[in-house]
Symmetry: C2
Subunit: 217 residues, 2 copies
DNA sequence: AAAGGAAGCGGAGAAGTCTCCGGTTAACGA
DNA sequence: TCGTTAACCGGAGACTTCTCCGCTTCCTTT
């Protein structure tokens, strides 16, 4: 909210594309610093766990000032999400263009189920970092790009089954149980297994995708 | 996690009851300090908003040291929840013993709907404080007593409609869209109205409570 | 090639949470 | 009433995140 720095959002991490008409390009030294910071952050997480991801330390390890880390990534949550994105850029392609049942080619209900199951696995894998990120900024999870992508994907599929419903809210609702704090609590304190969460989703989806849909019993 | 101080949980705020066999009673000065701290916190929130709720300031306003605030409430999230609880102790009674459709006397599906609608209103009212509390501690929301109560209440009602399902996970799933960060994002950035959230719940519940239940079309 | 200007850099410091532990005090039994 | 003890108090300080702003560096334009 109090960012007067648009740089962090200006160049999403990824391969450098030829710019057409957007904002002024990122300077070469800035781009190098971004890579250095991201590499340092990933190394710290890999070696000492997500909780050790401190901005001061990342800056020191990357050989830059702490101000530079903040200029490039905005806040700790954004840095954590950048590390996650770096790790799983390919996941996003899987449900957009990959083989069924995750990708196109299967029925909507089946794709929704496959997508949510895959997302459970992703949440399980990245739980530590997700927890750090969500805890640090109230809306980092939603402001960050991939949440919006997930929501749109789900909303599209839901719309094929329930065109009359509020697909945007329903997509949020289906994503909500994978908030890191709830999922982490279920797994660590509540003693729920991954399979149980997936089965829970199946029960929830049974109600949402069956009645009134094309495949009513 | 790193609490070796059990005091905060020992005496849930509320009227002092005669102790039967529990842990040693809270000392009189300690009880008075708790009241002072709670009153100071509530006053700060009322005057300058939930974001101004800082532990140092609460301590100063209450006339105690900051260590005392931490001894009594554990952390900032717990203090925020204590202020919330103080405000709406009566809400919990409403769905347990009040008149239908919230209280006993109505059908399970109807009670679930009434309960979630009421919870939307509560979330709307207390959004600022809930945001502060949830942001400060990963599992404060779930560790705090009322979440467990809500979950059990919902699980019981769900069990009447879908006895074969995982009622505990389903209860979590129905509560998840009311996480303060998601709800806050929908309301403040996403432009969703309160009515829209309630309608979304209705759509979600239609699938969950209708099929296989006693009222199949 | 040189200059001008915008973007970037760095680290001191503000602000906040939470811990630690020596000194104090309330509660209770004798 | 008085002594004992466990609970409690307070605030200095460790540790973080994040801001601010004077100085530096890169890019573009001439």
């Amino acid at each position: 909210m109090t960012h007067d720095d648009a740089t962090a959002a200006r160049r999403p991490p990824g391969p450098v594309l030829p710019v057409v008409g957007g904002p002024p390009a990122e300077r070469a030294d800035a781009a190098q610093n971004r890579r250095r910071i991201l590499a340092a952050a990933a190394a710290i997480v890999a070696e000492r766990g997500p909780d050790a991801l401190s901005m001061d330390e990342v800056a020191r390890a990357a050989g830059v000032g702490v101000g530079t880390v903040y200029r490039r990534f905005g806040d700790r949550a954004a840095l954590a999400y950048a590390v996650i994105d770096d790790r799983e850029a390919r996941f996003q392609a899987a449900f957009l263009t990959g083989p069924p049942p995750l990708g196109p080619g299967a029925g909507a209900a089946e794709r929704i189920r496959a997508f949510l199951h895959a997302l459970v696995d992703r949440t399980e894998d990245q739980l530590g970092l997700l927890l750090v990120a969500e805890m640090d900024s109230a809306d980092a999870r939603f402001a960050e790009g991939s949440y919006e992508l997930y929501r749109q994907h789900l909303a599209l599929l839901i719309g094929r089954i329930r065109p009359e419903g509020d697909v945007r809210w329903l997509a949020d609702a289906l994503l909500a149980p994978l908030a890191a704090n709830l999922y982490g609590y279920q797994r660590r304190t509540g003693g729920m297994s991954v399979a149980r969460v997936k089965a829970g989703y199946d029960a929830l989806l049974a109600g949402l995708t069956a009645p009134g849909g094309p495949a009513a019993p």
